[in-house]
């Protein structure tokens, strides 16, 4: 079994191009990568919403005042 298209370096490098594993699956890799990126970005966005909601609930005039004093 080999994940690369070559199993030896016995070659003239002038004739060698792609050497990464699973060559030929670029479209699948891009789909996986894009899903990963969008999932991460959506989750980060949700996380911020939750954090701001919690901060909003915790806010009071006295705590806000002391935070202003802390600069």
């Amino acid at each position: 079994m080999a994940t690369t298209s070559y199993t030896s370096w016995a070659a003239d490098l002038a004739d060698v191009g792609v050497v990464y594993p699973f060559a030929g699956s670029e479209v699948v890799m891009v789909i996986l990568g894009v899903v990963f990126w969008i999932t991460c970005q959506v989750l980060m966005s949700k996380m911020e919403d939750e954090e701001l909601e919690a901060e909003e609930k915790a806010a009071s005039s006295s705590s806000s005042g002391s935070n202003i004093d802390r600069y």
Binding site: T3, T7, W9, M29, F36, C40
Partner: protein
């Protein structure tokens, strides 16, 4: 140097490694800044000096015997190659100013900076309670003995792990990070947690960094130095006949440490993509915690490093993301389950992520050649798993644990509890305050006398 093209190649190579060494210095600056940022104010100076003083002790020991080990031990313990090691003994002509050998000095220095990194990874884990004298012995052992043995076995074109296991670890997931993380875990198991780290019921308490901003700057410096580290792991330019392996044709190339072809372009993309995968996942899994987000970026690079000479950038990103997730989860699990106080998460970020990265590489590059030389085993999951166990367990954890046990028996491992509570810098701080009060009083007296 026979011709001008040879001369140009040699001087280019010399300059290339020299630049990587300067870049890698930033790793150590970053570790120092980061450790001081994590340490509490009463331990600053000792934390800084502990990490600083590993520089001279590792440097001189690496000159005296570490570099020789790399060249003489590729088949140790089956054999010691005295002939191959001879030019790298401290009394050899190659180890001095020598116009006939422009490469040994910079190559030695590049490996030395790897040695500092290995020792510095261990340093952070045991801050605020290890005696400096004990740490400096550990620094010599990890920096000039154990890591360089593993490099000789698994990070040398002729190393037995490469020949027989097909071990592949291009940017040192195992040979630097897993071994240093394993070594740190061995020390921590004997050293014990900082006082107050765990509540009576065993629940871990958070001991926050005294200065999170300093910690993040430290991380940025480590990232920057890591660029130099990556470049230093390559041979920048080499011709097929110099490799004298199976490469045919006349095309010159950059190679990894095993003299197998790669490109600076590939490793640059993979470095950035694995960093990004690690940062994104760590940000999510730690709920935006800065310390763990930055640590996750590092864990991402470390996990992908074993195969970053050949991976596709998207593969590097996904592997980096997984490594950051695993490091975060494993750190918290081990802390709670085994009461291990790793002050900076070094065991997780370097040890677990490095171990996992070596194993993943076995699956990702399954069947690919580990070397351009004929007859070497191909890369495989089992070869990588055995390699990871050797790095983390045999050459990392085991010596760290045994030497610490010995130190503990001799009473030289841990500082007294009263000093730990009071802070390692207490007397230094008192002397500082006294000196400040003294000079201020003197200046005020002089001012009063002048005004009369």
């Amino acid at each position: 140097m026979g011709s001008n093209i040879d001369a140009l190649t040699t001087v280019f190579t010399e300059f290339y490694y020299w630049v990587t060494v300067v870049f890698m210095f930033l790793i150590h600056v970053g570790f120092c800044v980061y450790e001081v940022g994590v340490a509490r104010r009463r331990n600053h100076m000792h934390t800084l000096m502990k990490n600083t003083m590993l520089i001279p002790v590792v440097t001189v020991t690496f000159f005296f015997f570490g570099w020789w080990i790399y060249w003489a031990f590729p088949n140790f313990p089956m054999a010691i190659d005295f002939a191959a090691g001879a030019p790298y003994t401290p009394w050899a002509e190659n180890m001095g100013t020598n116009l006939g050998d422009r490469i040994t000095g910079v190559f030695w220095a590049a490996f030395l900076l790897f040695s500092w990194t290995a020792a510095s990874i261990v340093s952070g884990a045991c801050i605020e309670r290890i005696k400096t004298k004990a740490f400096l012995i550990h620094a010599v052992l990890i920096g000039s003995v154990f890591w360089i043995i593993d490099a000789s076995w698994g990070w040398h074109w002729g190393g037995w792990m490469v020949k027989y296991l097909g071990y592949h670890d291009a940017y040192a997931s195992g040979v630097i990070h897993a071994i240093a993380g394993g070594y740190a875990l061995g020390i921590l198991m004997v050293l014990g947690p900082r006082l107050g780290k765990f509540a009576k019921d065993g629940t871990p308490r958070d001991i926050p960094p005294h200065n999170p901003w300093l910690v993040t700057i430290g991380f940025f410096l480590i990232y920057t130095g890591f660029w130099g580290f990556y470049a230093a792991c390559n041979v920048p330019i080499i011709s097929p006949e110099v490799i004298d392996g199976q490469l045919t044709g006349v095309t010159w190339t950059a190679t990894n440490i095993y003299l197998a072809p790669t490109t600076l372009g590939a490793i640059t993309m993979n470095f950035l993509m694995s960093l990004s995968g690690g940062l994104m996942v760590a940000y999510l899994v730690s709920k935006g915690d800065a310390f763990w987000t930055y640590s996750g970026g590092l864990a991402g690079i470390i996990t992908a490093s074993a195969g970053n000479d050949l991976y596709h950038p998207i593969q590097a990103m996904l592997i980096g993301g997984f490594g950051a997730y695993a490091a975060f989860k494993l750190h918290n699990y081990v802390e709670k389950r085994f009461k291990i106080d790793d002050a900076v998460g070094a065991v997780a970020v370097h040890g677990y992520a490095g171990f996992i990265g070596v194993v993943i590489c076995g699956f990702m590059l399954w069947g690919a050649p580990s070397s351009p030389y004929e007859g070497y085993a191909a890369i495989s999951p089992w070869g990588q798993l055995i390699g990871a166990i050797i790095m983390f367990g045999l050459l990392g954890f085991l010596p760290g644990y045994l030497v610490s046990k010995l130190m503990q028996a001799k009473g030289m491992l841990r500082i007294p509890a009263s000093v730990e509570i009071r802070g390692l810098d207490a007397m230094t701080n008192e002397a500082y305050e006294s000196a400040v009060a003294d000079i201020q009083a003197a200046e005020k007296r002089r001012l009063n006398e002048q005004s009369k």
